[in-house]
Amino acid sequence: MTERTLAPHAVRLTGLRKSYGPLTAVDGVDLEVAPGEIVALLGPNGAGKSTVVDLVLGLSRPDAGTVAVFGRSPRDAVDAGLVGAMLQDGAMLEDATVAELVALFAAVHRHPLAVAEVLQRAGLADLAGRRATELSGGQTQRVRFALALVPDPDLVVLDEPTVAMDVATRREFWAAMRRFVAAGRTVLFATHYLDEADGFADRVVLLRDGRVVADGTPRHVKSIVAVRTVRATVPDLDEATLHALFGNDAVTVDGADVRIRTADGDGVLRALLARSPEAHDIEVTGADLEEAFLSITEGSAR
Protein backbone atom coordinates (compact mmCIF):
# COMPACT_ATOMS: atom_id res chain seq x y z
CA MET A 1 0.00 0.00 0.00
CA THR A 2 1.88 3.03 -1.23
CA GLU A 3 1.52 6.16 -3.31
CA ARG A 4 1.03 3.85 -6.30
CA THR A 5 -2.66 3.84 -5.43
CA LEU A 6 -2.90 7.51 -6.33
CA ALA A 7 -3.75 6.62 -9.93
CA PRO A 8 -7.31 7.87 -10.53
CA HIS A 9 -8.65 4.44 -11.36
CA ALA A 10 -7.73 1.08 -9.96
CA VAL A 11 -9.36 -0.49 -13.00
CA ARG A 12 -10.53 1.24 -16.15
CA LEU A 13 -12.16 -0.69 -18.97
CA THR A 14 -13.29 1.08 -22.12
CA GLY A 15 -15.20 -0.47 -24.99
CA LEU A 16 -14.01 -3.91 -24.05
CA ARG A 17 -14.86 -6.76 -26.41
CA LYS A 18 -13.79 -10.38 -26.51
CA SER A 19 -15.09 -13.26 -28.59
CA TYR A 20 -14.22 -16.92 -28.57
CA GLY A 21 -15.07 -18.10 -32.05
CA PRO A 22 -18.75 -17.37 -32.66
CA LEU A 23 -19.39 -16.72 -28.95
CA THR A 24 -19.20 -13.09 -27.85
CA ALA A 25 -18.18 -13.30 -24.21
CA VAL A 26 -17.70 -9.59 -23.55
CA ASP A 27 -19.64 -7.19 -25.73
CA GLY A 28 -18.63 -3.60 -25.09
CA VAL A 29 -17.95 -3.18 -21.38
CA ASP A 30 -17.02 0.18 -19.89
CA LEU A 31 -16.15 0.15 -16.22
CA GLU A 32 -14.20 2.35 -13.85
CA VAL A 33 -13.26 1.19 -10.39
CA ALA A 34 -11.84 3.76 -8.00
CA PRO A 35 -9.07 2.83 -5.57
CA GLY A 36 -10.54 1.43 -2.35
CA GLU A 37 -13.81 0.34 -3.92
CA ILE A 38 -15.15 -3.15 -3.40
CA VAL A 39 -16.96 -4.11 -6.56
CA ALA A 40 -18.93 -7.25 -7.32
CA LEU A 41 -19.30 -8.47 -10.86
CA LEU A 42 -22.59 -10.24 -10.63
CA GLY A 43 -24.21 -12.36 -13.27
CA PRO A 44 -25.34 -15.83 -14.21
CA ASN A 45 -22.98 -18.37 -15.76
CA GLY A 46 -21.94 -17.29 -19.22
CA ALA A 47 -22.53 -13.59 -18.52
CA GLY A 48 -18.86 -12.87 -19.20
CA LYS A 49 -17.61 -12.44 -15.62
CA SER A 50 -14.61 -14.74 -15.92
CA THR A 51 -13.66 -13.25 -19.27
CA VAL A 52 -13.68 -9.75 -17.77
CA VAL A 53 -11.50 -11.05 -14.92
CA ASP A 54 -9.05 -12.63 -17.39
CA LEU A 55 -8.87 -9.39 -19.37
CA VAL A 56 -8.26 -7.29 -16.25
CA LEU A 57 -5.45 -9.64 -15.24
CA GLY A 58 -3.92 -9.70 -18.71
CA LEU A 59 -4.50 -13.44 -19.00
CA SER A 60 -6.18 -12.83 -22.32
CA ARG A 61 -6.20 -9.92 -24.73
CA PRO A 62 -9.25 -7.95 -25.76
CA ASP A 63 -10.40 -7.99 -29.38
CA ALA A 64 -11.20 -4.31 -28.98
CA GLY A 65 -11.09 -1.71 -26.23
CA THR A 66 -8.57 -1.02 -23.50
CA VAL A 67 -7.75 -2.25 -20.03
CA ALA A 68 -5.84 -0.09 -17.57
CA VAL A 69 -4.93 -1.14 -14.04
CA PHE A 70 -3.70 1.78 -11.95
CA GLY A 71 -3.12 3.56 -15.24
CA ARG A 72 -0.90 0.79 -16.60
CA SER A 73 -1.30 -2.21 -18.81
CA PRO A 74 -2.33 -5.35 -16.89
CA ARG A 75 1.09 -6.87 -17.57
CA ASP A 76 2.90 -3.85 -16.10
CA ALA A 77 0.57 -3.77 -13.10
CA VAL A 78 1.19 -7.48 -12.46
CA ASP A 79 4.93 -7.01 -12.87
CA ALA A 80 4.88 -4.17 -10.36
CA GLY A 81 3.11 -6.39 -7.84
CA LEU A 82 0.01 -4.20 -7.79
CA VAL A 83 -2.38 -7.06 -8.50
CA GLY A 84 -3.13 -10.27 -6.64
CA ALA A 85 -5.70 -12.72 -7.89
CA MET A 86 -7.52 -15.85 -6.87
CA LEU A 87 -8.24 -17.84 -9.98
CA GLN A 88 -10.97 -20.42 -10.17
CA ASP A 89 -8.77 -23.21 -11.38
CA GLY A 90 -5.82 -25.11 -10.11
CA ALA A 91 -2.46 -23.83 -9.02
CA MET A 92 -1.94 -26.91 -6.86
CA LEU A 93 1.18 -28.87 -7.71
CA GLU A 94 0.90 -32.45 -6.55
CA ASP A 95 4.38 -32.78 -5.14
CA ALA A 96 4.66 -29.39 -3.47
CA THR A 97 3.81 -28.41 0.07
CA VAL A 98 1.74 -25.34 0.89
CA ALA A 99 4.85 -23.45 2.04
CA GLU A 100 6.70 -24.44 -1.13
CA LEU A 101 3.91 -23.22 -3.37
CA VAL A 102 3.93 -19.87 -1.63
CA ALA A 103 7.74 -19.79 -1.72
CA LEU A 104 7.79 -20.63 -5.44
CA PHE A 105 5.36 -17.84 -6.12
CA ALA A 106 7.23 -15.43 -3.84
CA ALA A 107 10.49 -16.26 -5.64
CA VAL A 108 9.21 -14.80 -8.89
CA HIS A 109 7.79 -11.58 -7.43
CA ARG A 110 9.95 -8.53 -7.09
CA HIS A 111 8.76 -7.34 -3.69
CA PRO A 112 6.95 -10.27 -2.08
CA LEU A 113 5.73 -10.42 1.49
CA ALA A 114 7.63 -12.88 3.67
CA VAL A 115 6.38 -16.44 3.16
CA ALA A 116 5.70 -16.86 6.90
CA GLU A 117 3.64 -13.69 6.95
CA VAL A 118 1.58 -14.77 3.95
CA LEU A 119 0.91 -18.16 5.51
CA GLN A 120 -0.13 -16.54 8.74
CA ARG A 121 -2.43 -13.99 7.10
CA ALA A 122 -4.12 -16.65 5.03
CA GLY A 123 -4.58 -18.87 8.09
CA LEU A 124 -2.24 -21.53 6.75
CA ALA A 125 0.51 -21.42 9.38
CA ASP A 126 -0.47 -24.86 10.69
CA LEU A 127 -0.69 -26.35 7.21
CA ALA A 128 2.63 -25.10 5.85
CA GLY A 129 4.14 -28.58 5.60
CA ARG A 130 1.03 -30.19 4.14
CA ARG A 131 1.06 -31.42 0.55
CA ALA A 132 -1.16 -29.18 -1.52
CA THR A 133 -3.18 -32.14 -2.74
CA GLU A 134 -4.06 -33.26 0.80
CA LEU A 135 -6.16 -30.19 1.54
CA SER A 136 -9.90 -29.77 1.84
CA GLY A 137 -11.76 -27.50 -0.56
CA GLY A 138 -11.79 -24.63 1.89
CA GLN A 139 -8.09 -25.06 2.70
CA THR A 140 -7.23 -25.16 -1.00
CA GLN A 141 -9.07 -21.89 -1.41
CA ARG A 142 -6.98 -20.43 1.40
CA VAL A 143 -3.85 -21.43 -0.53
CA ARG A 144 -5.18 -19.55 -3.56
CA PHE A 145 -5.88 -16.61 -1.27
CA ALA A 146 -2.30 -16.86 0.04
CA LEU A 147 -0.93 -16.75 -3.52
CA ALA A 148 -3.00 -13.62 -4.12
CA LEU A 149 -1.46 -12.02 -1.01
CA VAL A 150 2.15 -12.70 -1.98
CA PRO A 151 2.80 -9.45 -3.91
CA ASP A 152 1.06 -7.39 -1.17
CA PRO A 153 -1.29 -6.11 -3.87
CA ASP A 154 -3.31 -2.91 -4.02
CA LEU A 155 -5.93 -4.59 -6.16
CA VAL A 156 -7.31 -8.03 -5.43
CA VAL A 157 -9.24 -9.82 -8.14
CA LEU A 158 -11.29 -12.84 -7.17
CA ASP A 159 -13.01 -15.14 -9.63
CA GLU A 160 -15.89 -16.94 -7.90
CA PRO A 161 -13.81 -17.23 -4.73
CA THR A 162 -16.30 -19.17 -2.61
CA VAL A 163 -17.73 -21.49 -5.21
CA ALA A 164 -16.55 -24.71 -3.54
CA MET A 165 -17.15 -23.63 0.04
CA ASP A 166 -19.84 -24.53 2.51
CA VAL A 167 -21.72 -21.72 4.23
CA ALA A 168 -19.51 -21.57 7.34
CA THR A 169 -16.29 -21.57 5.33
CA ARG A 170 -17.69 -18.91 3.06
CA ARG A 171 -18.46 -16.66 6.01
CA GLU A 172 -14.97 -17.24 7.37
CA PHE A 173 -13.46 -16.41 3.99
CA TRP A 174 -15.26 -13.11 3.69
CA ALA A 175 -14.28 -12.23 7.26
CA ALA A 176 -10.62 -12.80 6.34
CA MET A 177 -11.09 -10.79 3.17
CA ARG A 178 -12.64 -7.93 5.13
CA ARG A 179 -9.60 -7.81 7.42
CA PHE A 180 -7.33 -7.84 4.40
CA VAL A 181 -9.04 -4.97 2.60
CA ALA A 182 -9.49 -2.83 5.70
CA ALA A 183 -6.32 -0.94 4.75
CA GLY A 184 -8.04 0.52 1.68
CA ARG A 185 -7.28 -2.09 -0.94
CA THR A 186 -9.43 -2.34 -4.03
CA VAL A 187 -11.37 -5.54 -4.64
CA LEU A 188 -13.02 -6.73 -7.83
CA PHE A 189 -14.77 -10.04 -7.49
CA ALA A 190 -16.92 -12.14 -9.77
CA THR A 191 -19.76 -14.04 -8.20
CA HIS A 192 -23.14 -15.45 -8.91
CA TYR A 193 -24.09 -15.45 -5.24
CA LEU A 194 -26.34 -12.49 -4.66
CA ASP A 195 -25.92 -12.49 -0.91
CA GLU A 196 -22.16 -12.15 -1.38
CA ALA A 197 -22.47 -9.19 -3.70
CA ASP A 198 -25.04 -7.67 -1.37
CA GLY A 199 -23.09 -8.35 1.80
CA PHE A 200 -19.53 -7.62 0.82
CA ALA A 201 -19.50 -5.21 -2.09
CA ASP A 202 -20.25 -1.53 -1.90
CA ARG A 203 -20.95 -1.53 -5.60
CA VAL A 204 -22.57 -4.13 -7.81
CA VAL A 205 -22.05 -4.37 -11.55
CA LEU A 206 -24.62 -6.61 -13.12
CA LEU A 207 -23.49 -8.40 -16.24
CA ARG A 208 -25.71 -10.08 -18.79
CA ASP A 209 -24.64 -11.46 -22.15
CA GLY A 210 -21.29 -9.71 -21.89
CA ARG A 211 -22.79 -6.30 -21.17
CA VAL A 212 -23.22 -4.15 -18.08
CA VAL A 213 -26.96 -3.93 -17.44
CA ALA A 214 -26.88 -2.26 -14.03
CA ASP A 215 -24.21 -0.59 -11.96
CA GLY A 216 -24.46 0.93 -8.49
CA THR A 217 -24.84 0.16 -4.82
CA PRO A 218 -26.88 -2.96 -4.15
CA ARG A 219 -29.74 -0.60 -3.24
CA HIS A 220 -29.23 1.46 -6.38
CA VAL A 221 -29.27 -1.63 -8.57
CA LYS A 222 -32.55 -2.60 -7.00
CA SER A 223 -34.02 0.87 -7.57
CA ILE A 224 -32.98 0.88 -11.24
CA VAL A 225 -34.64 -2.43 -11.78
CA ALA A 226 -37.55 -1.41 -9.52
CA VAL A 227 -39.05 -4.83 -9.38
CA ARG A 228 -42.12 -5.18 -7.20
CA THR A 229 -44.10 -8.23 -6.39
CA VAL A 230 -47.84 -7.79 -6.05
CA ARG A 231 -49.51 -10.61 -4.13
CA ALA A 232 -53.29 -10.86 -3.82
CA THR A 233 -56.18 -13.25 -3.50
CA VAL A 234 -58.27 -12.77 -6.64
CA PRO A 235 -61.39 -14.94 -6.72
CA ASP A 236 -63.13 -13.16 -9.60
CA LEU A 237 -60.59 -13.26 -12.44
CA ASP A 238 -59.49 -16.44 -14.22
CA GLU A 239 -55.95 -17.30 -15.14
CA ALA A 240 -56.31 -16.43 -18.83
CA THR A 241 -57.58 -12.95 -18.01
CA LEU A 242 -54.71 -12.37 -15.58
CA HIS A 243 -52.18 -13.49 -18.16
CA ALA A 244 -53.79 -11.26 -20.75
CA LEU A 245 -53.66 -8.30 -18.36
CA PHE A 246 -50.17 -8.67 -16.93
CA GLY A 247 -48.25 -10.93 -19.27
CA ASN A 248 -47.54 -14.65 -19.15
CA ASP A 249 -44.11 -14.57 -17.55
CA ALA A 250 -44.90 -12.17 -14.76
CA VAL A 251 -47.99 -13.90 -13.38
CA THR A 252 -48.06 -16.95 -11.15
CA VAL A 253 -51.52 -18.30 -10.35
CA ASP A 254 -52.20 -20.81 -7.59
CA GLY A 255 -55.96 -21.17 -7.19
CA ALA A 256 -57.16 -17.76 -6.16
CA ASP A 257 -53.69 -16.69 -5.00
CA VAL A 258 -51.91 -14.56 -7.56
CA ARG A 259 -48.33 -13.28 -7.72
CA ILE A 260 -47.43 -10.62 -10.24
CA ARG A 261 -43.85 -9.49 -10.74
CA THR A 262 -43.57 -6.08 -12.34
CA ALA A 263 -41.48 -2.98 -12.76
CA ASP A 264 -44.61 -0.82 -12.29
CA GLY A 265 -46.18 -1.85 -9.00
CA ASP A 266 -48.56 1.11 -8.86
CA GLY A 267 -49.89 0.49 -12.37
CA VAL A 268 -50.48 -3.19 -11.71
CA LEU A 269 -52.26 -2.36 -8.49
CA ARG A 270 -54.61 0.14 -10.21
CA ALA A 271 -55.39 -2.26 -13.05
CA LEU A 272 -56.01 -5.11 -10.65
CA LEU A 273 -58.38 -3.11 -8.44
CA ALA A 274 -60.27 -1.73 -11.44
CA ARG A 275 -60.93 -5.21 -12.86
CA SER A 276 -61.33 -7.19 -9.69
CA PRO A 277 -63.64 -5.71 -7.05
CA GLU A 278 -63.25 -8.82 -4.94
CA ALA A 279 -59.46 -8.82 -4.77
CA HIS A 280 -58.26 -8.89 -1.16
CA ASP A 281 -55.19 -9.54 1.01
CA ILE A 282 -53.20 -7.36 -1.34
CA GLU A 283 -49.51 -7.00 -0.60
CA VAL A 284 -46.85 -5.10 -2.55
CA THR A 285 -43.23 -5.87 -1.76
CA GLY A 286 -39.98 -4.47 -3.07
CA ALA A 287 -37.57 -6.87 -4.69
CA ASP A 288 -34.48 -8.17 -3.02
CA LEU A 289 -31.41 -8.45 -5.18
CA GLU A 290 -32.35 -11.99 -6.07
CA GLU A 291 -35.59 -10.88 -7.72
CA ALA A 292 -33.96 -7.92 -9.41
CA PHE A 293 -31.43 -10.30 -10.78
CA LEU A 294 -34.05 -12.77 -11.97
CA SER A 295 -36.13 -10.18 -13.77
CA ILE A 296 -33.13 -8.72 -15.47
CA THR A 297 -31.67 -12.02 -16.57
CA GLU A 298 -35.00 -13.33 -17.77
CA GLY A 299 -35.15 -10.25 -19.94
CA SER A 300 -32.35 -11.70 -22.00
CA ALA A 301 -34.50 -14.68 -22.98
CA ARG A 302 -37.03 -12.49 -24.75
Binding site: L57, G58, L59, S60, R61, V78, D79, G81, V83, G84, A85, L87, D89, G90, A91, M92, L93, E94, D95, A96, E100, A103, L104, F105, A107, V108, H109, R110, L147, P151
Partner: protein, 237 residues
Protein backbone atom coordinates in the same frame (compact mmCIF):
# COMPACT_ATOMS: atom_id res chain seq x y z
CA UNK B 1 15.79 -16.79 -15.85
CA UNK B 2 15.00 -16.46 -12.15
CA UNK B 3 17.70 -18.11 -10.03
CA UNK B 4 15.71 -18.45 -6.82
CA UNK B 5 12.84 -20.04 -8.69
CA UNK B 6 15.18 -22.43 -10.48
CA UNK B 7 16.87 -23.44 -7.23
CA UNK B 8 13.50 -24.09 -5.60
CA UNK B 9 12.55 -26.20 -8.62
CA UNK B 10 15.78 -28.19 -8.32
CA UNK B 11 15.05 -28.78 -4.65
CA UNK B 12 11.59 -30.00 -5.55
CA UNK B 13 13.14 -32.31 -8.11
CA UNK B 14 15.60 -33.75 -5.61
CA UNK B 15 12.75 -34.49 -3.23
CA UNK B 16 10.91 -36.45 -5.87
CA UNK B 17 12.59 -39.76 -5.02
CA UNK B 18 10.42 -41.89 -7.26
CA UNK B 19 11.32 -39.89 -10.36
CA UNK B 20 15.00 -39.91 -9.39
CA UNK B 21 15.11 -43.64 -8.81
CA UNK B 22 13.29 -44.40 -12.05
CA UNK B 23 15.17 -41.93 -14.23
CA UNK B 24 18.60 -42.72 -12.86
CA UNK B 25 18.07 -46.27 -11.68
CA UNK B 26 16.60 -47.77 -14.85
CA UNK B 27 19.57 -46.98 -17.13
CA UNK B 28 22.00 -48.02 -14.37
CA UNK B 29 20.16 -51.33 -13.99
CA UNK B 30 20.05 -51.83 -17.75
CA UNK B 31 23.78 -51.20 -17.86
CA UNK B 32 24.41 -53.91 -15.27
CA UNK B 33 22.20 -56.31 -17.24
CA UNK B 34 23.86 -55.60 -20.59
CA UNK B 35 27.29 -55.65 -19.02
CA UNK B 36 26.60 -59.10 -17.58
CA UNK B 37 25.62 -60.27 -21.08
CA UNK B 38 28.18 -58.56 -23.31
CA UNK B 39 30.68 -56.82 -21.06
CA UNK B 40 34.37 -57.59 -21.41
CA UNK B 41 37.64 -55.74 -20.92
CA UNK B 42 38.09 -54.75 -24.56
CA UNK B 43 35.97 -51.65 -24.42
CA UNK B 44 32.50 -53.18 -24.61
CA UNK B 45 31.88 -52.27 -20.97
CA UNK B 46 32.78 -48.59 -21.45
CA UNK B 47 30.75 -48.50 -24.65
CA UNK B 48 27.70 -49.95 -22.87
CA UNK B 49 28.21 -47.52 -20.01
CA UNK B 50 28.19 -44.55 -22.37
CA UNK B 51 25.15 -45.87 -24.24
CA UNK B 52 23.20 -46.17 -21.00
CA UNK B 53 24.54 -42.79 -19.84
CA UNK B 54 23.14 -41.29 -23.04
CA UNK B 55 19.84 -43.07 -22.45
CA UNK B 56 19.75 -41.66 -18.90
CA UNK B 57 20.41 -38.17 -20.22
CA UNK B 58 17.72 -38.47 -22.88
CA UNK B 59 15.13 -39.90 -20.48
CA UNK B 60 15.79 -37.24 -17.84
CA UNK B 61 15.61 -34.28 -20.21
CA UNK B 62 12.70 -35.41 -22.35
CA UNK B 63 10.63 -36.39 -19.31
CA UNK B 64 10.85 -32.76 -18.17
CA UNK B 65 8.09 -32.15 -20.70
CA UNK B 66 5.76 -34.31 -18.64
CA UNK B 67 6.41 -32.11 -15.63
CA UNK B 68 5.67 -28.95 -17.61
CA UNK B 69 2.45 -30.50 -18.95
CA UNK B 70 1.35 -31.44 -15.43
CA UNK B 71 2.00 -27.95 -14.11
CA UNK B 72 0.10 -26.49 -17.03
CA UNK B 73 -2.76 -28.87 -16.35
CA UNK B 74 -2.75 -27.99 -12.65
CA UNK B 75 -3.10 -24.29 -13.50
CA UNK B 76 0.29 -23.46 -12.05
CA UNK B 77 1.60 -21.84 -15.24
CA UNK B 78 -1.55 -19.71 -15.39
CA UNK B 79 -0.94 -18.66 -11.80
CA UNK B 80 2.66 -17.82 -12.68
CA UNK B 81 1.40 -15.42 -15.32
CA UNK B 82 0.19 -13.31 -12.39
CA UNK B 83 3.82 -12.75 -11.50
CA UNK B 84 6.69 -10.99 -13.27
CA UNK B 85 8.07 -14.37 -14.40
CA UNK B 86 7.92 -14.71 -18.19
CA UNK B 87 6.85 -18.00 -19.75
CA UNK B 88 10.18 -18.15 -21.56
CA UNK B 89 12.00 -17.77 -18.27
CA UNK B 90 9.87 -20.57 -16.85
CA UNK B 91 10.79 -22.77 -19.82
CA UNK B 92 14.49 -22.11 -19.25
CA UNK B 93 14.15 -22.95 -15.54
CA UNK B 94 12.49 -26.21 -16.50
CA UNK B 95 15.27 -26.96 -18.99
CA UNK B 96 17.91 -26.33 -16.35
CA UNK B 97 16.09 -28.63 -13.93
CA UNK B 98 15.97 -31.25 -16.71
CA UNK B 99 19.73 -30.91 -17.24
CA UNK B 100 20.37 -31.31 -13.52
CA UNK B 101 18.33 -34.50 -13.52
CA UNK B 102 20.16 -35.66 -16.65
CA UNK B 103 23.50 -35.00 -15.00
CA UNK B 104 22.50 -36.95 -11.89
CA UNK B 105 21.26 -39.88 -13.93
CA UNK B 106 24.32 -39.93 -16.19
CA UNK B 107 26.65 -39.69 -13.20
CA UNK B 108 24.94 -42.62 -11.51
CA UNK B 109 25.36 -44.78 -14.63
CA UNK B 110 29.01 -43.80 -14.84
CA UNK B 111 29.52 -44.53 -11.14
CA UNK B 112 28.10 -48.01 -11.64
CA UNK B 113 30.28 -48.29 -14.76
CA UNK B 114 33.32 -47.32 -12.73
CA UNK B 115 32.57 -50.03 -10.21
CA UNK B 116 32.12 -52.57 -13.00
CA UNK B 117 35.43 -51.67 -14.61
CA UNK B 118 37.39 -51.74 -11.38
CA UNK B 119 41.03 -50.66 -11.58
CA UNK B 120 41.12 -50.50 -15.39
CA UNK B 121 38.91 -47.43 -15.63
CA UNK B 122 40.16 -44.39 -17.52
CA UNK B 123 39.01 -41.65 -15.15
CA UNK B 124 39.91 -38.57 -17.23
CA UNK B 125 38.16 -40.07 -20.27
CA UNK B 126 35.10 -40.80 -18.15
CA UNK B 127 34.98 -37.24 -16.85
CA UNK B 128 35.34 -35.87 -20.38
CA UNK B 129 32.67 -38.22 -21.68
CA UNK B 130 30.26 -37.23 -18.91
CA UNK B 131 30.82 -33.56 -19.66
CA UNK B 132 30.20 -34.05 -23.38
CA UNK B 133 27.12 -36.10 -22.54
CA UNK B 134 25.76 -33.27 -20.45
CA UNK B 135 26.54 -30.68 -23.12
CA UNK B 136 24.93 -32.77 -25.82
CA UNK B 137 21.76 -33.13 -23.72
CA UNK B 138 20.95 -29.41 -23.98
CA UNK B 139 18.85 -29.70 -27.17
CA UNK B 140 16.84 -32.48 -25.51
CA UNK B 141 16.15 -30.34 -22.45
CA UNK B 142 14.69 -27.74 -24.83
CA UNK B 143 12.79 -30.46 -26.67
CA UNK B 144 11.32 -31.60 -23.35
CA UNK B 145 10.15 -28.07 -22.50
CA UNK B 146 8.60 -27.79 -25.96
CA UNK B 147 6.77 -31.11 -25.62
CA UNK B 148 5.30 -29.98 -22.31
CA UNK B 149 3.83 -26.82 -23.78
CA UNK B 150 2.34 -28.35 -26.93
CA UNK B 151 -0.79 -30.47 -26.97
CA UNK B 152 -2.86 -31.76 -24.08
CA UNK B 153 -1.56 -32.74 -20.67
CA UNK B 154 -2.92 -36.27 -21.04
CA UNK B 155 -0.97 -36.99 -24.18
CA UNK B 156 2.28 -35.54 -22.82
CA UNK B 157 3.54 -38.83 -21.32
CA UNK B 158 2.95 -41.03 -24.38
CA UNK B 159 4.33 -38.34 -26.68
CA UNK B 160 7.40 -38.05 -24.51
CA UNK B 161 7.81 -41.83 -24.60
CA UNK B 162 7.66 -41.90 -28.41
CA UNK B 163 10.21 -39.10 -28.69
CA UNK B 164 12.45 -40.78 -26.11
CA UNK B 165 12.42 -44.17 -27.84
CA UNK B 166 12.90 -42.59 -31.26
CA UNK B 167 15.79 -40.50 -29.99
CA UNK B 168 17.31 -43.54 -28.25
CA UNK B 169 17.16 -45.62 -31.43
CA UNK B 170 18.56 -42.88 -33.65
CA UNK B 171 21.28 -42.39 -31.04
CA UNK B 172 22.28 -46.04 -31.19
CA UNK B 173 21.47 -46.48 -27.53
CA UNK B 174 19.82 -49.90 -27.67
CA UNK B 175 21.33 -51.25 -30.85
CA UNK B 176 24.61 -49.91 -32.24
CA UNK B 177 23.57 -47.74 -35.16
CA UNK B 178 25.75 -49.58 -37.70
CA UNK B 179 23.80 -52.74 -36.98
CA UNK B 180 20.47 -51.14 -37.87
CA UNK B 181 19.03 -51.48 -41.41
CA UNK B 182 21.19 -49.72 -43.96
CA UNK B 183 20.18 -46.16 -44.68
CA UNK B 184 19.06 -45.53 -41.14
CA UNK B 185 22.51 -44.34 -40.15
CA UNK B 186 22.49 -41.63 -42.79
CA UNK B 187 19.14 -40.47 -41.41
CA UNK B 188 20.39 -40.65 -37.83
CA UNK B 189 23.34 -38.45 -38.72
CA UNK B 190 20.93 -35.54 -38.99
CA UNK B 191 19.61 -36.15 -35.49
CA UNK B 192 21.31 -34.85 -32.33
CA UNK B 193 21.23 -38.03 -30.25
CA UNK B 194 23.44 -39.76 -32.84
CA UNK B 195 26.13 -37.18 -32.21
CA UNK B 196 25.44 -37.11 -28.50
CA UNK B 197 26.39 -40.79 -28.34
CA UNK B 198 29.29 -40.38 -30.77
CA UNK B 199 30.77 -37.48 -28.81
CA UNK B 200 30.40 -39.28 -25.49
CA UNK B 201 32.14 -42.36 -26.94
CA UNK B 202 35.02 -40.28 -28.35
CA UNK B 203 37.11 -39.92 -25.17
CA UNK B 204 37.48 -43.73 -25.17
CA UNK B 205 39.15 -43.69 -28.57
CA UNK B 206 36.15 -43.96 -30.91
CA UNK B 207 36.62 -41.81 -34.02
CA UNK B 208 34.13 -38.97 -34.39
CA UNK B 209 33.59 -36.14 -36.83
CA UNK B 210 33.79 -33.43 -34.17
CA UNK B 211 32.95 -30.57 -36.52
CA UNK B 212 29.80 -32.22 -37.84
CA UNK B 213 28.83 -33.26 -34.28
CA UNK B 214 29.23 -29.70 -33.03
CA UNK B 215 27.35 -28.20 -35.99
CA UNK B 216 24.45 -30.65 -35.76
CA UNK B 217 24.03 -30.23 -32.01
CA UNK B 218 24.37 -26.45 -32.20
CA UNK B 219 21.89 -26.22 -35.06
CA UNK B 220 19.30 -28.31 -33.20
CA UNK B 221 19.88 -26.28 -30.03
CA UNK B 222 19.31 -23.03 -31.89
CA UNK B 223 16.22 -24.23 -33.71
CA UNK B 224 14.69 -25.75 -30.57
CA UNK B 225 15.51 -22.63 -28.55
CA UNK B 226 13.76 -20.60 -31.24
CA UNK B 227 10.72 -22.87 -31.08
CA UNK B 228 10.65 -22.70 -27.28
CA UNK B 229 10.85 -18.94 -27.49
CA UNK B 230 8.03 -18.81 -30.02
CA UNK B 231 5.79 -21.32 -28.25
CA UNK B 232 6.25 -19.86 -24.76
CA UNK B 233 6.09 -16.33 -26.13
CA UNK B 234 2.69 -17.21 -27.53
CA UNK B 235 1.62 -18.31 -24.04
CA UNK B 236 1.79 -14.61 -23.11
CA UNK B 237 -1.29 -13.92 -25.12
Amino acid sequence: MNTTYTLLEVRRLLRDRAALVLTAGLPAGLFLLYNAMWGDDTGATTSLMVMMGVFAGLAATISAGGRVALERHAGWTRQLRLSPLRPLSYALSKSVVALVLGMLAGTLVFAVGLAAQGGGADLPAMAESLFLLWLGSIPFALLGALLGQAGSANSAQPRGMVVLLGSAFLGGVFVPIDQLPSGLESVAQWYPSYWLNALAQAPFGEPVDVVRAAITLAAWTLVLAGLVRWRYGRAER
